[in-house]
């Protein structure tokens, strides 16, 4: 079975935006892979004018938030770096009983790479000139607005990319193993 891989478009964002962006992307991916009976929940992004969808599953939300916290912790220690968050779907097969225990093999059939470029906000230069400081502040505000607008546009593109991918590639999805909401086992990997 092939493992389909999807490299999502890189997003440039600041640390305060990490949580919202990752929530949006991870929930969108999982909503397309949670093939059990779900009750969709519309969520309005706090930072962006985007509505994404969640499966109303508390366990899932909890796991996603834990992983996001992990990633944010890593970013705090490694600022201004490009990084990836990977979400993988796998099948558990061939449980070999060995002398050391049961060996569980995972066959990954799909992997999503969320490419993030975390930038730290530039501190404003101190200026004794009030007028210059005001002008600098205004420029910074406009720059921040344009950056946020660009990020929102990029995020929307990423979501479209996910939709296109899940629509085009369906043959690699294994048969449904259970009737739970989250149909396939998954794991979210963050840099260490």
């Amino acid at each position: 079975m092939n493992c389909e891989t999807c490299q999502l478009k890189e997003l440039v964002l600041e640390p305060p935006e990490i949580r919202e962006v990752l929530r949006c992307i991870l929930h969108t991916i999982l909503f397309h892979r949670a093939l059990g009976l779900v009750r969709p929940k519309d969520v309005e992004c706090e930072l962006f004018d985007i509505t994404y969808v969640q499966c109303e599953d508390h366990e899932l939300e909890k796991k996603i938030d834990e992983k996001i916290n992990q990633f944010i912790g890593w970013v705090e220690k490694h600022p201004n770096r490009k990084s990836q968050v990977c979400i993988s779907f796998y099948e558990v097969k061939n449980k070999h009983a060995t002398w050391f225990g049961n060996k569980i093999e995972r066959f990954y059939w799909e992997q999503w790479y969320i490419n993030l470029h975390i930038i730290s906000p530039k501190p404003h230069g101190k200026s004794h000139n009030t007028k210059a400081h005001v002008v600098t502040g205004e420029n910074a505000f406009e720059g921040s607005n344009s950056r946020c607008a660009a990020l929102e546009s990029s995020l929307r593109e990423v979501l479209f990319q996910i939709i296109k991918f899940v629509n085009e590639k369906k043959d690699h999805i294994p048969p449904l193993q259970n009737s739970e909401i989250v149909s396939f086992p998954y794991e979210i990997s963050t840099p260490r």
């Binding site: 397309h32 009976l37 779900v38 009750r39 969709p40 969808v53 939709i163 048969p175 449904l176």
Partner: protein
């Protein structure tokens, strides 16, 4: 999944169902409604097929020409595909279409319950996507379903209309039922534009040797060795997962389009907006103009193959709505809002307060403010109320309902005000004086030569009558200090109403009984022609200003127990309440003297101002009664004189007694000094 046919439910039910037939099903029935027989299909649901419940009731055509249940299943899936697409689209595009009545239990029910609840799987559970109930979508689909699986074209239309104040246009969908492409919108003078076009269609394969058939046969070969029935089922099982994923994508995708933002704004905003979203459903595709085509983007979901065709879903949408939303709309006509909050029309009491000359205004203002909670507000507000109601702390006025609500007095005798003004003033003052012994009277301070207290409104005679009678009542039944608690506004109001109605009650004899005066006083009271019998009091209209002074005064209510009265008033009829009040007054304990002393200072002040000639010097044994220069002071003077006279009389008696005792003592002491008397003298005595 094993399908068994032939076994019927204990109670076979025949139902009409419009069947999806057509040329794709060679052995299928013709279109339109057919009488069906519900057949219980026992389905052993594997965990691999979560879209269906364990025991699935499937309504199928029982026509002998129908080939197999599997075809019916496929057709059912196709039908539900269209329904689900329509549901998802309209739920996020038509304001007010999507219902908020949503119960998780409806959609997350256990398999066992789903079996017994419906004859077929609930539509919203199809493709494992539980959606909110959308009656409009279902209604639209029911209409479309009779069209024999023609393409379902859903146009989302943005309407811009001029705001007309007298038009209340609901923001909602516009449903076409004729599939002719005409829309009601065309008749209305407004601009509209198609911002999205969704097309759901089922393309039937023309040749039997299509790829799908090969795939179907392949599935059959794998599972059950070539049976066409099981091959289609297996194929359906495989493709059902695709349906699920497609609808997941549709649900997410539709919320990323520009129109969703507008829909969300319209749905969440309660303001009247010139923009609105509507939809049009048709079976024909009207091409766009080149200009519109250039502004639109297209997205096509990957079609899903069925054994005999292909289901496809695509959308054309405007990339941006900003240019449409920014178009200038028709200017609104200038209108003057007359009923704004705070205007005289909405808040008449505020207006009335600004007009002090209006006699009833302050009463209304105060009454409304205090008793806005009252259910009788509307009724009571129409009644000119006693200004004393203005202050709940007003000890006397608010608890003298006889002075209030003159309109409630119904005097059958139509007797004119008997007491002339001077007499009335005197009686009033007199009564107030005696009343003040037990309770501070609000009227005594108010009585002045120029502006005695009066009742609001032009019905002053009646009001005076009621007022005096109330005073008489209060005098007749003095109440103790413990009963002088501030009454609740409810109680006060009720008491006011009831007591006014009771105002005609003549309490002549009771005055005598309850009034702590001597015999002479009683006679004097009786001599007053009007005070004890008819009790009218004349009030001048200018007394309203005096009553206004009591807005901030702290006059306690003379009524005994407002708690009891309140409770009783709430339950009984007004007449019963009045009787209860009277009974209470009659059985009330006499006021103590110390209360009079506590309340004396303001009264004294006023008394001195009113009657500087009156001297309360106890050393003055003679009753000093200055001849009242005006008629208003005469009654007060008489009242004061009477009270002073009484006191002075007693003082004189005590002095006489003292003198007599002193004389006796002196004579005894002189006898002792003189020694014992001679025997002859004693015999002679």
């Amino acid at each position: 999944m094993e399908l068994g046919s032939g076994s019927s439910r204990p109670s076979d039910q025949e139902s009409e169902v419009s069947l999806l037939g057509g040329p794709c099903t060679a052995s299928g029935p013709s279109v339109n409604s057919l009488k069906l027989r519900s057949i219980y299909v026992s389905v052993s649901m594997p965990w691999r097929f979560p879209g269906l419940t364990r025991n699935l009731w499937i309504e199928m055509a029982t026509s002998p020409s129908h080939s197999s249940p599997e075809s019916a299943i496929i057709e059912q899936v196709i039908t539900e595909f269209f329904a689900k697409s329509l549901h998802i689209i309209l739920e996020s595009r038509s304001p007010y279409v999507s219902s908020r009545n949503y119960s998780v239990d409806q959609f997350m029910s256990s398999p066992s319950s789903s079996c017994s609840s419906s004859s077929s799987m609930p539509r919203d559970k199809w493709f494992n996507l539980a959606l909110r109930d959308c009656p409009a979508a279902l209604e639209n689909f029911d209409i479309w379903r009779k069209s024999n699986l023609e393409p379902l074209v859903i146009d989302i239309i943005l309407i811009r209309r001029a705001l007309v104040p007298d038009v209340a246009r609901p923001l909602g969908g516009c449903l076409l039922r004729n599939f002719s492409g005409n829309c009601d919108l065309a008749r209305e003078p407004k601009s509209w534009k198609i911002v999205e076009r969704w097309i759901v269609q089922y393309e039937r394969h023309k040749s039997s040797s299509s790829k799908n058939h090969k795939d179907v046969r392949k599935c059959g070969t794998k599972n059950n060795g070539g049976s066409s029935c099981s091959s289609e089922t297996a194929f359906y099982k495989k493709t059902y997962k695709r349906y699920i994923i497609l609808f997941r994508s549709l649900y997410v995708f539709i919320r990323l389009l520009p129109t969703y933002k507008l829909f969300h704004e319209l749905n969440s905003s309660g303001q009247i907006c010139p923009l609105s979203l509507s939809h049009r459903i048709s079976s024909s595709i009207q091409p766009f103009t080149q200009e519109d085509e250039a502004k639109m983007s297209q997205f096509t979901f990957v079609p899903i193959d069925t054994p005999r065709g292909r289901l496809s879903l695509s959308v054309q949408y405007l990339r941006t709505l900003e240019d449409i939303r920014s178009e200038p709309s028709a200017p609104l006509s200038v209108q003057f809002i007359l009923d704004y909050v705070g205007s005289p029309t909405t808040d008449p009491f505020r207006r009335l307060k600004s007009l002090p000359s209006a006699p009833s205004s302050p009463a209304l203002v105060s009454f409304t403010r205090q008793h806005s909670w009252s259910n009788d507000h509307g009724a009571l507000a129409s009644v000119p109320l006693c200004p004393s109601v203005a202050c709940s702390e007003a000890r006397g006025i608010c608890c003298n309902p006889s002075l209030c609500l003159p309109s409630l007095i119904h005097r059958n005798d139509h007797s004119p005000p008997v007491i002339s003004e001077p007499q009335n003033a005197a009686v009033t003052h007199k009564n107030n004086m005696s009343f003040d012994e037990f309770w501070p009277s609000p009227f005594s301070p108010t009585l002045s030569p120029s502006s005695p207290a009066h009742l609001p409104g032009q019905r002053s005679p009646n009001a005076l009558q009621s007022g005096s009678s109330q005073i008489d009542i209060a005098k007749a039944h003095p109440i103790t200090a413990s009963q002088t608690q501030a009454c609740s506004s409810e109680g006060k109001l009720q008491i006011q109403m009831d007591t006014v109605r009771y105002g005609n009650y003549q309490t002549g004899p009771t005055i005598v009984k309850g009034f702590p005066s001597g015999k002479d006083d009683t006679e004097k009271l009786a001599e007053l022609p009007s005070s004890s019998t008819q009790g009218p009091l004349s009030r001048s209209p200018s007394g309203l200003s005096l009553l206004d002074k009591f807005d901030d005064s702290g006059f306690a209510c003379p009524f005994a127990d407002y708690k009891d009265v309140t409770e009783s008033c709430n339950r009984r009829s007004p007449h019963a309440v009045v009787g209860a009040v009277v009974q209470m007054l009659m059985t009330a304990a006499p006021l103590r003297q110390d209360l009079y002393n506590l309340c004396r200072p303001p009264q004294v002040f006023m008394d001195e101002s009113l009657n500087p000639c009156v001297q309360y010097d106890q050393a003055n044994t003679e009753q000093s009664e200055c001849p009242a220069s005006t008629s208003e002071t005469l009654a007060s003077v008489l009242l004061k004189s009477k009270t002073a006279a009484e006191g002075l009389e007693e003082l004189r008696r005590y002095k006489e007694m003292k003198e007599s005792i002193l004389k006796q003592g002196a004579s005894r002491s002189s006898d002792v000094d003189n020694g014992p008397r001679s025997p002859g003298n004693n015999d002679q005595s």
